[in-house]
Amino acid sequence: MADTKPNNYIEGISGFPAFIELTTHLMKTQNPFFTTSRREFMKAGSAAVVGSVVASSFPMSANAFYSSDDVIKIGIIGCGGRGTGATVQALSTKQNIKLVAMADAFSDRLEESYEQITNPDAEHAGAVAGRFDVPAERRFVGFDAYKQLIPLVDVVLIATPPGFRPIHFEAAVAADKHVFMEKPVATDSPGIRSVLATAEIAKQKKLNVVVGLQRHYQNEYREWVDRMHNGMIGDITTGRVYWNSGGVWVRDRAGLEAKAGRTLTEMEYQMRNWYYFNWLCGDHIVEQHIHNIDVGNWVKNAYPVRAQGQGGRLVRTGADHGEIFDHHYVEYEYADGSRMISQCRHMPNTMSRVTEAFHGTKGSAPRPGVLLSASGETLYQHDGRNDINPYQVEHDELFAAVAAGEYKYADAENGANATMSAILGRMCTYSGQLIEWDDALNSPLSLMPTTFAWDAAPPVLPNEQGMYKIAVPGETKVL
């Protein structure tokens, strides 16, 4: 592992290494932007680029090719609250990291994020001091901002609304970058298939990919799930997973237009109020409840083979609530016949429950960190009060691997399948049908726009009353 420099270490970053076009045909076709630096050469997961010879000649753990004062350059695509959080966590790791570029669809979001990251009064100020260098020319705005950012960095952080994930992930891996990307990783089946294909390429290129399903990086879950895998409560026959809460933010059109002092295009409005549009968000069963569904799959070591369910919207029914449901109930079936019951709800004043529980042939797991025997005796209880922040662990582990030149993380495939599980649930609640996994995964139905531009029409449009079409079980086609 590289030596750790003090956080205020800012040596020698007056600009970027020059990019040159390499003359080797293989390199040129696969990677037109490649630095002259040997360090970059190794660190960017170049094994696949130059073929297996390099990979077998130099052990991946050998980091003698780049000295300890080398900086791992990162860039963030998607500068909302989560992207800002992820950036600060990346900068707070022990490795020698520098934020050198930022990208967002909106300039104001990017600037707010930069202010948060660099705020000298923030709790993270000490941890990130001297670790950012993002002059105006490396702040990229608009739908294509990611294209400008990716060549400039070693590791790409992706935290845009989920609909863009397949596009950005593909571009990052094509450019041989390690990736941290948030969940979910797509909003429709074509997006999932794209991410699965990119995941395969990332694997071949030995690019580390961490997906923000942070329960996998949380001690309480790791210890709990390990014990279930080891049979402490027998075979798992039933899972129950929940994200029942009061809901999330709404950015209403009137408020946005008042702030902007002008009428927004429909594309701009949907991009701002993205939670309520399926091409961007996937509905809350995908955007939030994926965490719990993913835990269910993890405990079962499997993905569902089919599902059926129901849902609708009863409370959150305004124009600014777009097209998503406010509740879903799904019954998933695994190949061994076991079931996972999934509930998610966004309704204020109702019972809050965000958790997972399991029942086995020899006991139960009533909540994360707790295992009981069939007679109710405590078999395991994790005291998570002093666990470290799993969001930080994600970055600590990813950047330790990158710094050491190791290939350790390939989260994208599970990220895609977890997302697909949640999309399958949405397909069931929107259609009211029993749907097979394979049919869902192979559906050609795309939710995405054909053109990304502020004056382009998004795939769903409001009627004269400003209302959007809502799925109707029994009528809506989802495959």
């Binding site: 800002t84 009061g246 933010w249 204020p348 004043n349 998570g384």
Partner: protein, 365 residues
């Protein structure tokens, strides 16, 4: 006193003479006596505390153990308070106390004005009136005041469930930051016309020890604490309904265990020495930083030593570690489902101007 509010450079001072804002007028307007626990003779049938003259009626005519129930105007939600007379009490633990930590002492005298303290931790039912505007109503007990549901600063939607699924109408409300708890106190003050805030450390510990110098107050010890507390040995690792264990000697429930409780004070390791030096009525370590602040009472995670009245817990940024966003929520801790709060209404009143300064000071707004 107003000057004291304004001294931003001073990190600690006493705040003297808090008064319940128009307390007498509105207490009589809001009070109901329907809570059966108020009628429970056992609750009032106890010895006067040795360390004070609190068996004597206060100027206002209230006496130790008096209990009142207040309705939240415009709702069917109520909450109960127990009266603690002003006097001189002893807080801090002696070195001989079993399980003692070094930050608990020395045992010192403290002068307190009279105060009403929540008989229970603030419940999910109560907090949800504040949290959800459609549970609230455009009504207040303050004559002439205009109260608008839409004008209240309310908690933002938390990312996950701050209560980890353990919450409920009669469970302690948990997971809010101290700032969030203080906002609740400001709101309930505006609703009821009674000035509420959190307990100071000294008020909290005095109520817990019920005027004695015993680790758990009279009648409770390490062998019987499980009858009074939801704790590690009996709490099932989760929150339980308030008031479902025995009350302490002054009729106050869940001081031991269940949810731990925010106080008003910044945590200082030599707190007892500092307030002894202050030698003022109602001593308070005014916070000058976000953490640590003092948490009392222990929770369902804890065992007897942490449930002692003098035990102290330091708040930490770590309780917000899983907040995925930056800036992190002002309202919610993502990792403190064991932590709620209890209200205190000090007996002495404040002017409207002083109240405004107080809220500006403690909320930093």
């Amino acid at each position: 006193m107003i000057g004291a509010f304004m001294r931003s450079t001073s990190c600690r001072h006493a705040y003297n003479g808090w008064l319940v804002w128009l307390f007498l007028v509105f207490l009589s307007a809001c009070v109901s006596t329907q809570d059966p626990k108020m009628q429970d003779p056992e609750m009032h049938d106890h010895d006067a505390p040795a360390a004070s003259d609190s068996s004597m009626p206060s100027e206002s005519g209230f006496k130790l153990g008096d209990t009142r129930t207040l309705n939240i105007p415009g709702t069917n939600v109520s909450f109960s308070l127990v009266y603690v007379p002003g006097g001189t009490y002893t807080i801090g633990s002696p070195e001989s106390e079993k399980g003692r930590d070094t930050d608990e002492g020395p045992a010192v005298s403290v002068k307190l004005g009279g105060y009403w303290i929540g008989q229970y931790e603030v419940t999910g039912d109560e907090f949800s009136v504040f949290r959800y505007p459609d549970r609230d109503a455009d009504t207040t007990a303050v004559p002439g005041a205009v109260y608008s549901v839409d004008a209240v600063s309310r908690p933002s939607p938390p990312y996950e469930d701050p209560a980890f699924g353990m919450g409920g109408a009669r469970k302690p409300a948990v997971g809010m930051t101290q700032w969030g708890a203080l906002h609740y106190a400001k709101w309930i003050s505006e609703k009821t016309g009674v000035f509420f805030r959190l307990a100071t450390e000294a008020e909290w510990e005095t109520a817990c020890k019920a005027g004695t110098t015993l680790p758990f107050g009279p009648g409770v010890d390490a062998t019987t604490i499980a009858e009074y507390a939801w704790m590690s040995s009996n709490g099932g690792g989760k929150l339980n309904e308030v008031g479902s264990k025995k009350p302490n000697a002054w009729g106050i429930y869940d001081l031991f265990g269940n949810a731990a409780e925010w106080t008003m004070d910044e945590y200082q390791a030599d707190y007892a020495s500092q307030i002894a030096e202050m030698n003022s009525v109602d001593p308070w370590i005014e916070p000058s930083r976000l953490h640590p602040r003092t948490v009392k009472g222990g929770s369902y995670y804890d065992s007897a030593p942490q449930l002692r009245c003098s035990d102290r817990l330091e708040s930490t940024l770590n309780w917000k570690r899983r907040d995925p966003q930056i800036p992190k929520s002002f309202w919610w801790n993502t990792d403190a489902p064991f932590l709620g709060f209890r209200l205190v209404a000090p007996e002495r009143t404040l002017s409207a101007e002083e109240l405004e300064m107080f809220w500006t000071m403690v909320l930093g707004e």
